[in-house]
């Protein structure tokens, strides 16, 4: 689909789906994926938040766009070096180091791109530089680290080695205030975009926290949001929002105007193909089924529609971009991500 916005046009097309539910403790597939980041070399690093039965296997899985499952790293569930409990988001710095937030451990853990644990920083609390539920994370061109401090309802900016620089925000719904924010992104100009989760909007700030704009309001219409979880901004300034509560992704123009709505169109991944090859009787019935059903009124909410419509996004917790114009939508409930290509 192609859409004109001001002097810019966006056209984005579905490319493929990567993933399969992983019911074990390691290996190919994903277990409640929660965010992903794409390495400069094309490798895709995916947080596996895991469920309580598999919590010991909380980890980062690594694959590529060709659907090769390459490796994974994790140090178990806990508070020790490299360990995770409730990881939320990850991002690379310019040296390809992985910065990962953990909202339970109240810290940032840093690994090299082979998964080796390097260091960690973060202290629980509400004073300057302290954290209460670190969530979204992004780095600017100088490798400064922005962290959403969700339960303190603010954003904090740190140096690459964790020294506090500045912060802004408090609980509220006015400009520059937040209610349990989740994801965040930094654009090419160094401006910061925050998914203000319980205020159903995206807020834009300068790199030093000056309020610039607010986009969206509560609702299910175009340009409206229900609990946006994640935001990404491309080089042209298009804003991608994981409209989590509406089970969809919206793309806004650089001025915040609505451009494109994506509902998801997942297809059978290579790993899923392998599954059906060894389970042909299930494939036969699947081919005979209508996987785009009409539903009764009591199941018409976006959540219920997505729970019954396998190709739609279900639990789109994260939108990520790579350097080649591709959009990755991570769906925690479906243990996969869908890839779109911007033309």
């Amino acid at each position: 689909m192609a859409i004109q916005t001001g002097s810019k046009t966006i056209q984005i097309d579905y490319l493929k789906t990567i993933g399969i539910v992983n019911n074990g403790l390691n290996g190919r597939g994903f277990t409640s994926p929660y965010d992903l980041a794409v390495h400069k070399d094309g490798r895709i690093f995916v947080i596996n938040r895991c469920d309580p039965l598999r919590s010991s296997a909380v980890r980062v899985g690594i694959c590529n766009l060709d659907e090769d499952y390459l490796s994974e790293f994790g140090y178990g569930n806990g508070a020790g070096d490299g360990q995770m409990v409730w990881p939320v988001a990850l991002a690379f710095d310019s040296k390809n180091r992985v910065f990962l937030t953990d909202e339970h451990n109240q810290r940032i853990s840093i690994y090299d791109d082979s998964g080796k644990f390097l260091e960690k920083w973060g202290t629980a609390g509400s004073a300057e530089g302290e954290l209460n539920g670190p969530a979204g994370i992004a780095l600017d061109k100088e490798d400064n680290v922005y962290v959403v401090d969700q339960h303190n309802h603010r954003v904090q900016k740190f140096t690459n080695d964790g020294k506090y620089i500045l912060g802004w925000g408090k609980l509220g719904s006015g400009p520059g205030e937040f209610d349990t924010p989740w994801g965040l992104a930094v654009d090419a100009e160094g401006d910061v975009y925050v998914a203000d989760w319980r205020n159903d909007r995206i807020q834009k700030f300068s790199g030093d926290g000056q309020f610039l704009a607010s986009y969206g309001e509560s609702g299910q219409g175009e340009g409206q949001f229900q609990r946006p979880a994640s935001v990404a901004v491309d080089d042209e300034g298009f804003i991608y929002v994981a409209d989590w509560g509406n089970e969809r992704v919206q793309i806004l123009g650089p001025d915040g105007s609505f451009q494109v709505l994506l509902q998801g169109e997942a297809t059978v991944s290579k790993w899923a193909d392998d599954y059906f090859a060894s389970n042909p009787e299930e494939k036969v019935e699947r081919d005979n089924a209508n996987l785009m059903p009409e539903l009764p009124d009591h199941l018409s909410s976006p959540y219920h529609v997505s729970s019954q419509t396998e190709s739609y996004f279900w639990g789109p917790v994260s939108v990520s971009l790579d350097g080649a114009g591709r959009l990755y939508v991570t769906e925690t409930n479906r243990h996969r991500f869908q890839v779109y290509q911007k033309q």
Binding site: W86, Y275, A289, L295, S307, Q308, T332
Partner: protein, 475 residues
């Protein structure tokens, strides 16, 4: 009002909330008492603003409870709702129907659809029994649970048609085998969308490739038997709706429903006075057009229900016990790591949510308790109520402290703990044991108490003992 009357009103209100809910904290009781008994009954019967932990909050921090792929996470999701709701009867009636109109995860492997069924129980569980049975007959989890996806025109499967009569409405002895067959014919074509694919996924417990796909009802006209049927003495070209209409007007259905409601909300055993109350409930059933809400209003406002003889006449089910203790202790009010362990606790005590052992649900009453389970039950509630960091326990400590400028004697400590944890009435033997324990350390001085100090620990230990008593295990 005399203090005796106040105490009695408080005890009666606590009794109502134990039955129509999961018990009440002292603060909640004070709010209810200000409204008055019959007004509270009406509020409970007309749930409107549950204010339970919001779904978005649960889903964000517990993605497994958003996906609802497995049993443990799904039970935890419902637990959150029961623990935090301000409309406890909405959850209690859902729990009642879950036990009576039982479906089990072990066969279905589809917790999301089971929880959709629980939503249906919330939505329709206090309305018309006729409407509830009709919704049940269109519930995909029930249809697959009782094989109605295999009930075809010309090749009936009687499982759903039989249990509809035997376990869900009239009870054995009130219908014939021919009624079962004819009723089953009327429900041919009542199935779920993509039944063949969903059935094979359920059978294989397949979560691949992209987790579960939830279910919805589908009516297949071409698979429905349109021929004439004779059911419970009536003849016509019946479809499923007609069968439900005929069932709902039977006296046997009224007796079945009212007796089961009585046993769940009033007393495990039906006495002579209880039988009279059931007769009144049956009259209300017909007078109100089969309205469950009206039937329960008759029960809760009856002199029988208010009488002393009904107090502690039920064994708390495991879920009632657990949820009641957590509400009293004020724990798990926000998303908490480890909530799924609470679900496992109810399973260990014999009531795994969303997974009743058979189509008959759970055997209740005294069958909830054996020596092994009793240890689990006592350990759980004692641990919750003995934890002085729990907000609800802190509130009890603060109330004990605020009410006395002097030290509490052992007798005062026991009586005030029994009051604030219920109030509950215990036998003389139990009370003597509690007082004997308190006397070992003498009077209790709570002046200037600090969180977790020795004085507070003594209160925690007393609450732990009270929660371990026989009476705390009863509703």
């Amino acid at each position: 009002m005399t203090s005796t009357a106040t105490r009695e009103n408080t005890a009666l209100m606590a009794h109502l909330l134990r039955r129509a809910g999961f018990g009440a904290t002292r603060q909640e009781l004070e709010g209810y008492l200000a409204k008055g008994y019959e007004a509270v009954v009406d509020d409970l019967l007309n749930p409107s603003d549950p204010q339970n932990m919001p779904d978005d909050v649960i889903r964000r921090y517990h993605p497994d409870q958003s996906e609802l792929r497995d049993l443990t996470s799904s039970g935890a999701y419902w637990m959150y709702r029961m623990i935090t709701t301000r409309c406890p009867l909405e959850e209690k009636i859902a729990l009642f129907w879950h036990g009576l109109l039982a479906t089990g995860y072990t066969k279905l492997n589809q917790a999301r659809s089971q929880l959709n069924q629980i939503d249906m129980f919330r939505r329709s569980g206090l309305g018309s029994f006729r409407d509830l049975l009709l919704e049940l007959s269109k519930d995909p989890a029930m249809l697959l649970w009782l094989d109605n996806n295999d009930n075809h025109n010309g090749a009936i499967n009687e499982n759903f048609g039989r249990e509809l009569l035997e376990l869900f409405s009239m009870g054995i002895g009130n219908y014939t085998e021919k009624d079962v067959k004819e009723g089953s014919r009327a429900f041919t074509g009542w199935t779920l969308g993509n039944a063949e694919y969903m059935a094979i996924r359920a059978f294989k417990d397949s979560i691949w490739p992209y987790s579960r796909i939830a279910w919805h009802f589908e009516y297949r006209e071409q698979d429905h038997d349109n021929g004439e049927k004779t059911f419970l003495g009536e003849t016509g070209n019946f479809n499923g709706e007609d069968i439900i209409d005929i069932i709902a007007k039977q006296e046997a259905s009224a007796r079945f429903l009212t007796t089961r409601l009585f046993q769940f909300f009033a007393a495990d055993d039906v006495s002579e006075d209880g039988e009279k109350t059931i007769t009144e409930m049956m009259k209300t059933y017909f007078d109100s057009g089969y309205e469950i809400r009206a039937v329960l209003r008759t029960l809760f406002n009856s002199e029988y229900f208010k009488s002393e003889s009904v107090r502690y006449a039920r064994v708390k089910g495991p879920v009632e016990l657990i949820v009641g203790a957590m509400r009293l202790a004020g724990s798990y009010q926000s998303p908490t790591l480890g909530i799924e362990k609470i679900t496992n606790q109810s399973f260990f005590m014999g009531q795994g949510l969303l997974n009743p052992p058979t189509v008959e649900g759970w055997h209740e009453g005294s069958e909830w308790i054996d020596s092994g389970v009793l240890v689990e039950r006592v350990n759980f509630v004692a641990q919750e109520m003995g934890n002085t960091s729990r907000p609800g326990v802190r509130d009890i400590i603060d109330r004990l402290s605020a009410g006395s400028s002097d030290s509490l004697t052992p007798d005062e400590l026991v009586d005030r703990c029994l009051d604030l944890i219920g109030p509950i009435t215990v036998s003389d033997e139990t009370r003597d044991t509690l007082v004997g324990f308190a006397k070992r350390q003498g009077d209790l001085n709570l002046i200037d108490h600090q969180p977790g100090d020795e004085a507070e620990q003594r209160v925690g230990n007393m609450l732990r003992l009270v929660a371990s008593s026989r009476e705390f295990q009863l509703a």
